[in-house]
């Protein structure tokens, strides 16, 4: 990591003072190193070149079938992401939040969870949603503006997307406390909760409070921070002096930095962390070291604040390519398999386009529905008055 002092306290008589928005060339190079290298503590089991490596603390037995499954998950969710991005460009979605580059972090984490575990996402967790059995079509309405997420969060054990940065960390801590209060923690059959947030969120008070709560109540909670290096335009250096995983120590629980572009390492570390939690040894922080390959959202323009060199460097660390290389090298997958995954992706993309373009607008009553569980007579009167007004127009349309 580059030292934060470099960004904020330039040496006297040195080159012109830098700001976070306009660093010097030397600082850019230092920053590139910072995002490129996860450091000595980075847990990696599959290198960007597709070579299987060992780690003293973490390993995973993976069958060819399982690895093909992870590969397929990543390819499909990338296709969902690219299709949705294109649907926004065509005006079918108001906005999209790309996950490009974070497929391994999300598929690895998501596939580590059991059905009985609970997940609290931020708003970029399309890959986690996929692993929870949520049809990607159910994500579209949020970004088209027809709904705010239609899946059943209790049945799917996948909380609604949370847009206010960091709010969900406290909600997850409370849920995990409930798992403990319910006596569901303490053995291999135990339950655990996962909470997803980004590097930017780590500056939020709610994340700090979530760390405190989970720690003092021994909650079975895995904090899964996807450090994709950028919070819109602000680099991780603007959020922390310390590598994020090291913050856990201050709260009294383990923090691990994993190669978030390595699906095997992410799966192995997350499985371990969830098992620790279900046995009563939580909470645990995982920092998945990854990179946001696309814009923050379709409304963002990353060329204003980061260099294409950085992007090029991270392209070499692609989470999908390294698995493909490994599958081929091991002869665990043949041409036919890769073709079939591509065909599945094509089909999925088509379904998504078809679904999206045919989504009806919600009826006006939807404005007023389910504001309260037990109703509100004043609101009902307001609704009736408005619907009466609307129905006064020809054809009942406003």
């Amino acid at each position: 990591m580059s030292s934060p002092e470099q960004w904020t306290h330039p040496e006297p008589d040195a080159a012109p003072a830098a700001t976070a928005a306009k660093p010097t060339a030397e600082q850019v190079i230092a920053g590139l190193r910072a995002t490129d290298e996860g450091g000595a503590d980075l847990v990696q089991l599959l290198t960007p070149e597709g070579e299987r490596v060992t780690h003293p603390d973490f390993d995973i037995d993976i069958t060819p079938e399982e690895l093909r499954g992870l590969y397929r998950d990543m390819v499909l969710i990338r296709r969902v992401d690219r299709e949705a991005n294109a649907l926004q460009r065509k005006g079918q979605l108001g906005i999209w939040v790309p996950l490009l580059g974070q497929e391994a972090a999300q598929i690895g984490a998501g596939r580590a969870m059991r059905e009985t575990d609970m997940a609290f996402p931020s708003y970029r967790e399309h890959g986690i949603a996929w692993t929870r059995g949520i049809n990607p079509t159910e994500l579209l309405g949020i970004f088209r503006g027809t709904d705010q997420g239609t899946w059943d969060p209790v049945e799917k054990r996948f909380h609604p997307y949370t847009i206010v940065i960091g709010n969900q960390v406290l909600n997850a801590a409370g849920y995990a406390m409930g798992q403990k209060f319910d006596g569901k923690v303490g053995d291999d059959e135990g339950e655990a909760t996962m909470c997803f947030f980004g590097d930017g969120a780590t500056s939020q008070g709610d994340v700090h409070e979530g760390f405190v709560w989970a720690a003092v109540y021994d909650a079975p909670l895995v904090f899964f921070c996807q450090n994709n290096q950028w919070a819109i335009s602000e680099p991780t250096e603007r959020q922390s002096r310390l590598p994020l995983y090291q913050r856990a120590r201050g709260y009294g629980f383990p923090g691990i930095r994993v190669d978030g572009n390595d699906v095997l390492a992410t799966l192995a570390v997350t499985k371990w962390a969830l098992d620790e939690c279900r046995h009563g040894n939580g909470p645990i922080l995982i920092e998945a070291f990854t990179y946001r390959m696309d814009a923050h959202t379709t409304s963002d323009d990353p060329t204003r604040y980061r260099l294409s060199d950085e992007l090029e460097m991270w392209k070499l660390k692609d989470p999908i390519e390294r698995v493909k290389v490994y599958l081929v090298r091991q002869q665990w997958a043949d041409h036919e398999f890769f073709e079939s995954v591509e065909a599945d992706a094509d089909k999925l993309g088509e379904e998504l386009r078809e679904f999206c373009t045919n989504m009806p607008d919600p009826p006006a009553e939807r404005i007023f529905s389910n504001v309260y569980a037990e109703g509100n007579p004043n609101l009902e009167a307001q609704r009736d008055e408005f619907l009466d007004y609307v129905s006064g127009f020809a054809g009942g349309e406003h």
Partner: protein, 341 residues
């Protein structure tokens, strides 16, 4: 999820059903009754366990129900509310204590962004049966941030329900009704009235939670108040009666949703309305009542609706609070202005 039906008369039955209690004790007994009736009811807050809360409202509950149902939480209000959200999703019915009115703002984000909106966001798939208890209002000679009346912020937020009790019987029953409610309820307790006494019948619910109530009938003008100002308004009505003026007094009880039917009915008879509240007047509950009454009772009004409130300032140093807070004289002055209009 509806709370299990329960027979309150056996849940918390004292030897005699009608007792004279303080608001403080009535709240304590109401909380206890809810905890006995439903094992999913839990208390969360700062110093509410061993200490029993700075106002002793939760006194003895941790001793009897354990540390897992009465949580002395870390000292952070967003944490209290934010974790209550997760516990509610898990099936609990958290009752959060905010130690003082002015400390609720660190939790404001979670209340407005999550507590208020999750039911709507999920179209009813997630319910938020959370009660947030807030000792509110001034009159106790406290330092800054200990005497505020922030209820309007919450009444302005869709998805929340807001109530305030003014007497021991309501305190005992309303807190239980709020805990039974599947919507989130902000429960404002009149802290300067905590030790005022009244009769509580623990066998008979006095009415529904979201209903206003006429406490005193009158014919010349109507007073509407809630929380700590109900006592002030009743005192004003007593004093006015000695001068031959008959004032009707309505305890609002519910601030969101407002139940103004009894107010409209009253104003149609008296033609005059004075709204009394400690909160600053701008964009307040009192303003909302004035707007609705002029809309519904336009031809009955003999005078404009008048508001007697705190001023549009931060809460002042406590040596000035007697001037800041509406009192009997300011209420009667407004009544005189209304009658002379």
């Amino acid at each position: 999820m509806a709370a299990p039906t329960m027979d309150r008369s056996t849940a918390a039955a004292p030897a005699t059903p009608v007792q004279t209690l303080t608001i403080s004790k009535a709240l304590n007994m109401g909380l206890r009754a809810s905890m006995e009736a439903n094992p999913k009811v839990i208390m969360m807050g700062e110093d509410i366990g061993k200490l029993g809360g700075v106002f002793r409202i939760t006194d003895g509950l941790q001793k009897d129900f354990g540390e897992q149902r009465v949580l002395d939480t870390p000292l952070a209000e967003s944490g209290i509310i934010g974790t209550a959200v997760g516990l509610a999703i898990r099936g609990y019915r958290p009752v959060c204590e905010i130690q003082f009115d002015g400390f609720i703002f660190p939790g404001f984000d979670q209340i407005v962004s999550q507590v208020a909106k999750l039911h709507y966001r999920t179209q009813g798939k997630i319910k938020m049966p959370i009660v947030i208890r807030v000792p509110f209002g001034g009159g106790i000679g406290a330092v800054e941030h200990h005497s505020e009346s922030p209820e309007s912020y919450f009444a302005h937020t869709a998805g929340l329900k807001v109530v305030s009790c003014s007497n021991p019987a309501d305190a005992y029953w309303m807190i239980q009704q709020a805990i039974d409610c599947d919507d989130p309820v902000l429960f404002f307790e009149p802290k300067r009235r905590y030790y005022e006494k009244g009769e509580v019948d623990t066998t008979a619910q006095p009415g529904k939670l979201f209903e206003s109530r006429v406490l005193r009938s009158g014919t010349d003008a109507t007073l509407v108040a809630y929380g700590p100002m109900v006592r002030t308004s009743l005192d004003a009505a007593n004093a006015a009666a000695e001068d031959g003026t008959s004032l009707e007094v309505i305890d609002l009880r519910t601030l969101s949703p407002l139940d103004l039917a009894p107010v409209f009915e009253s104003v149609r008879r008296t033609g005059r309305l004075v709204v009394v509240s400690e909160a600053p007047s701008e964009s307040s509950i009192a303003s909302e009542i004035a707007a609705k009454v002029q809309q519904e009772c336009f031809y009955s009004l003999q005078a404009p609706v008048l508001r007697v409130t705190g001023f549009d300032t931060p809460y002042p140093p406590s040596k000035l609070e007697e001037e800041f807070l509406p009192d009997l004289d300011r209420v009667l002055h407004a009544v005189d202005r209304s009658l002379a209009w």
